[in-house]
C-alpha cells in the first residue's frame, strides 16, 4: 500500500476531540479492508479485529492510535466576526493569519485575520496576539453569520497535505493520523503472514483531552498486551537536543515507569531482528499517551509505546518522514507475528524464587 494518499485523506479529514465522525468514517473503511470485523464502540472508537490462527481462547493484543486532533471552538459572535477558544493546545503565535474551516450549519472556510502593518504602531507589530484577541472571519454579514454559526461550533485548520522532498510530508493533524496509517499498514502486512494472537487495531477518540477513548476501549477489550502508537518530537531549530529525535532515522520505543520493561525489550529485539533503526525514548514521568491509560485498565495491562518523530507538533504544518511511518507498520506486524503461547508468561516478573 502506498501510504501517501492515505495520509493525505487522514490529514485533511476533520476530527476534533469528541467530534471524530469524518475521520472515523475513513478509518473504518481503511481498517476494514484487512480486518475480520470492524465496529464502533460507545465512545466512538473504531475497533478492528483481525483474528489469529491459534485455537480459542486466543490471547489478544491491542494497538491504540488516537485519531482526534486539536482545534478551536466558537465562543462568541460579534459584528459578523467570531471569537474562539482552544480545544487542545496551539501556541497562540501560530494561529495568526491561518486559514480555518468553521463547522457551522455548513462548512465555512475562514481566516484568522491579521491586521496589516499599515495600521499598527511599531510596538504592536512586534508583539504576539493572544488567542482571545484573535477573530475568525468567514466573509459573511452579521445576519448571514448568525444563521449558520453558533457558539460551540468547532473549527479546524484549513490546510492541504503537501509532499515535500526527501520522502517527507507536511499537514495538519499528522499528530496522530500518521500512527493510524501505521496501524493500517500493520493490518495489511498481517494479512500476508500467519499470526497466532487476535489483534485489535483501535483508532481512539479524545486522546488530546485526556485519553478518554483509550480508557474505555482498553476496558472493553481487556487485551493481554497494549501498544500505543503516537508521535514524538523531531529535531528542529529551537528545540533542545534532549527529548528530540532525527526525522527519518526510525521510530522511538518508550522506556520508563509507564511501559512494561520486558514488552519494551521484546519490541527492541524485534527491531534488531529486522535490522531497523529505533531509539529508546526515556519517559521519567507519567506521560500523555494512550499507553498510560491502557497500562492501568482493569487489573493492569502490559503496555508499550512506539513513537514517530514529527516536526512542528501542534501546528498546521506538522512534518514527518514517510519512511518512519512504514517502519512502524513493519515493526508492529513483525512483533505480532512473533507472538506465541509463551509470550504472556515471558512477561512475568522474576521473583528470584527458583534459586532457593
Amino acid at each position: 500500500m502506498d501510504i501517501v494518499p492515505l495520509l493525505k485523506r487522514l490529514s485533511e479529514a476533520s476530527g476534533i476531540s469528541g467530534y471524530e465522525r469524518e475521520v472515523r468514517d475513513i478509518v473504518r473503511e481503511v481498517f476494514g479492508r484487512h480486518a475480520d470485523e470492524v465496529r464502533i464502540d460507545t465512545l466512538g472508537n473504531v475497533v478492528a479485529l483481525k483474528r489469529g490462527a491459534a485455537s480459542e481462547p486466543r490471547p489478544s493484543l491491542m494497538i491504540a492510535t488516537h485519531m482526534d486532533e486539536i482545534g478551536l471552538i466558537i465562543s462568541a459572535l460579534e459584528d459578523g466576526f467570531l471569537h474562539f477558544q482552544q480545544v487542545g493546545g496551539y501556541d497562540d503565535r501560530v494561529l495568526l493569519g491561518q486559514e480555518v474551516v468553521v463547522h457551522g450549519r455548513r462548512k465555512l472556510p475562514g481566516i484568522i485575520g491579521a491586521r496589516p502593518p499599515h495600521v499598527l504602531a511599531q510596538a504592536e507589530r512586534e508583539k504576539p496576539i493572544p488567542s482571545d484577541k484573535l477573530l475568525i472571519d468567514v466573509g459573511l454579514t452579521p445576519d448571514e453569520l448568525a444563521r449558520v454559526v453558533r457558539v460551540g461550533d468547532l473549527v479546524t485548520m484549513n490546510r492541504s497535505f503537501v509532499e515535500l522532498k526527501g520522502g517527507m510530508a507536511a499537514g495538519k493533524a499528522l499528530d496522530n493520523r500518521v500512527s493510524v496509517a501505521a496501524a493500517a499498514l500493520c493490518l495489511e502486512e498481517l494479512s500476508r503472514t500467519r499470526h497466532w494472537w487476535d489483534v485489535y487495531a483501535v483508532a481512539t477518540v479524545q486522546e488530546e483531552v485526556g485519553l478518554k477513548g483509550a480508557v474505555a476501549s482498553a476496558y472493553g477489550l481487556q487485551p493481554d498486551v497494549g501498544i500505543a502508537v503516537d508521535v514524538t518530537f523531531a529535531k528542529q531549530p529551537s528545540t533542545p537536543d534532549e527529548h528530540t529525535y532525527e526525522l527519518g532515522k526510525g521510530p522511538t520505543i518508550g522506556c520508563g515507569p509507564n511501559f512494561h520493561p520486558k514488552l519494551q525489550q521484546a519490541l527492541m529485539d524485534t527491531a534488531k531482528s529486522l535490522e531497523m533503526s529505533v531509539h529508546l525514548e526515556p519517559a521519567a514521568r507519567v506521560g500523555g499517551t494512550d499507553a498510560v491509560a491502557i497500562q492501568v485498565s482493569r487489573e493492569g495491562i502490559p503496555a508499550a509505546l512506539i513513537s514517530i518523530p514529527l516536526r512542528n507538533m501542534h501546528t498546521p504544518v506538522e512534518t514527518v518522514s514517510v519512511k518512519d511511518i512504514e517502519r512502524v507498520g513493519r515493526l508492529l506486524a513483525a512483533f505480532i507475528s512473533g507472538l506465541d503461547d509463551d509470550f504472556i508468561a515471558s512477561l512475568a516478573w522474576d521473583l528470584g524464587l527458583d534459586k532457593e
Partner: protein, 346 residues
C-alpha cells in the same frame, strides 16, 4: 475568473513574470499595442475613438506582491529567508510556501508548544530564527533544489466564500491583483480617450515601476487602482477602519505618498452619484500607492487612487468583496466614458 488566476500567479517584487504573461494573454486581443520596458512594466495601449488631439489617460495597477526570498542554505538542509515587502515576523511561523515558479513546496517551521517556555511564547519569533523546510536532509540536497536568491510566496488558494451578501472571496496577493483585475476589465470598453493600461512592477519596493512607466507614457491624467487596507474588524478603541468591505470603491483623498487631484475626486463622486454606484473615502494618511510616483512624473500629472477594500493585506491570505470589485469597475467605466468632456469642464 481572471482574478482567481491573478491571485494564484507567482509575483513577488522583481519576479512578476507570471503575472505579466497572464495579463498579456488576457489583453492581447482587446488592445492595440502591448509593450514592456526596462523594469518589466507591461503597458497596453487602447486607442480612443475621439478626434485628435486625444486626452492620454493612464490607469495603473501593480503586479508585484509581498513575498519571501531565500537568503541562506543551512548544513541541515533548512532554508533561511528574508521578506520582500512589508510582512511582519509574527505572521510567518507554521505557514506553507512555494519556492520559485516551479512551486517547490515548503513549510515555515515552528517549534512545538510543548518544548517552549511560557515566557518564550510571549515573544515573536524573529525571522532569523525561522527557516523553510523543504524536506532536504542536507545542504547538498537543498542546493540541488534551491539557490540563494530564489523567491517564495505563500501557498494560498483562491476561493469564493459566499454567493450573496458580501460575495466575499479569499486568496493571496489581492494587493494588488484586485487593481490588476479592475484595469484589465477596462480593456473591454471603447472610449473617446487614448487609454494606457500600465501594469507596474516593484510597487512594494517604493513605487519604482510606476515611476518609469508614467515617464514613458507621459499621461494627461492618471488613475491608480489598489487592493487597499481594510481594517473593519470590531475593535475596542474608536479607530477608523481605513476602508470598509462591501461599501464600494474607496477614493483616496490623501495618503503617505500624495495628495489626490481635487478635480478627479469630484469627477469620481459625480459619476458615482449619477450612476448610483456606492463609494467611500479611504482614511487619509494610510499607505502609499503608485499615484505617489505618477503625480510627480515629468512636469506633474493629475492623479487619484481608487481601491477595492481588502482585509488582511500583507498577510498569507486576504479577503475582499466581489461586489466592491464590480462597483469599482462600473465606476471606472463610467468615469472613462465621461472623458474628455467632464475633464475639460473641470
Amino acid at each position: 475568473m481572471l482574478l482567481e488566476d491573478l491571485s494564484h500567479a507567482f509575483g513577488p517584487s522583481g519576479c512578476e513574470d507570471e503575472v505579466r504573461r497572464l495579463l498579456a494573454r488576457a489583453l492581447r486581443d482587446k488592445v492595440d499595442d502591448l509593450q514592456t520596458d526596462a523594469l518589466g512594466n507591461l503597458i497596453a495601449f487602447k486607442q480612443g475613438t475621439g478626434t485628435q488631439p486625444r486626452l492620454k489617460v493612464m490607469v495603473d495597477a501593480h503586479m508585484d506582491e509581498v513575498g519571501l526570498m531565500i537568503t541562506r542554505i543551512e548544513k541541515n538542509g533548512l532554508l533561511g529567508f528574508r521578506v520582500v515587502g512589508g510582512i511582519l515576523d509574527r505572521l510567518l511561523p507554521a505557514k506553507g510556501v512555494v519556492i520559485g515558479q516551479k512551486r517547490l513546496p515548503g513549510v515555515i517551521a515552528a517549534p512545538p508548544v510543548h518544548l517552549t517556555k511560557p515566557e518564550q511564547r510571549r515573544q515573536v519569533l524573529p525571522i532569523d530564527q525561522l527557516a523553510v523546510d523543504i524536506g532536504a536532509n542536507s545542504e547538498d540536497e537543498a542546493r540541488e533544489l534551491v539557490k540563494i536568491g530564489d523567491y517564495a510566496v505563500f501557498d494560498t488558494r483562491f476561493q469564493v466564500l459566499g454567493e450573496d451578501g458580501l460575495h466575499a472571496v479569499k486568496g493571496k496577493a489581492f494587493d494588488d491583483r484586485m487593481g490588476c483585475a479592475v484595469a484589465s476589465a477596462l480593456a473591454d470598453g471603447e472610449y473617446a480617450v487614448d487609454l494606457y493600461l500600465s501594469f507596474s512592477t516593484q510597487e512594494e519596493m517604493g513605487l519604482r515601476g510606476a515611476m518609469v512607466a508614467a515617464y514613458r507614457i507621459g499621461p494627461d491624467l492618471a488613475f491608480a487602482f489598489e487592493g487597499t487596507v481594510c481594517d473593519d474588524i470590531p475593535k475596542k478603541e474608536d479607530v477608523s477602519p481605513t476602508t470598509e468591505m462591501g461599501k464600494g470603491p474607496a477614493i483616496t483623498v490623501m495618503d503617505r505618498s500624495f495628495v489626490a487631484d481635487q478635480r478627479l475626486i469630484h469627477l469620481l463622486i459625480e459619476v458615482a452619484e449619477a450612476n448610483g454606484i456606492p463609494y467611500q473615502f479611504k482614511q487619509p494618511g494610510v499607505g502609499s500607492t503608485d499615484a505617489g510616483a505618477i503625480h510627480l512624473s515629468r512636469a506633474g500629472v493629475p492623479a487619484v487612487t481608487v481601491s477595492v477594500p481588502c482585509r488582511y493585506i500583507h498577510t498569507p491570505v486576504s479577503m475582499a468583496s466581489l461586489n466592491d470589485l464590480d462597483h469599482t469597475v462600473a465606476l471606472m467605466r463610467a468615469t472613462l466614458a465621461a472623458l474628455p468632456e467632464k475633464w475639460r469642464a473641470a
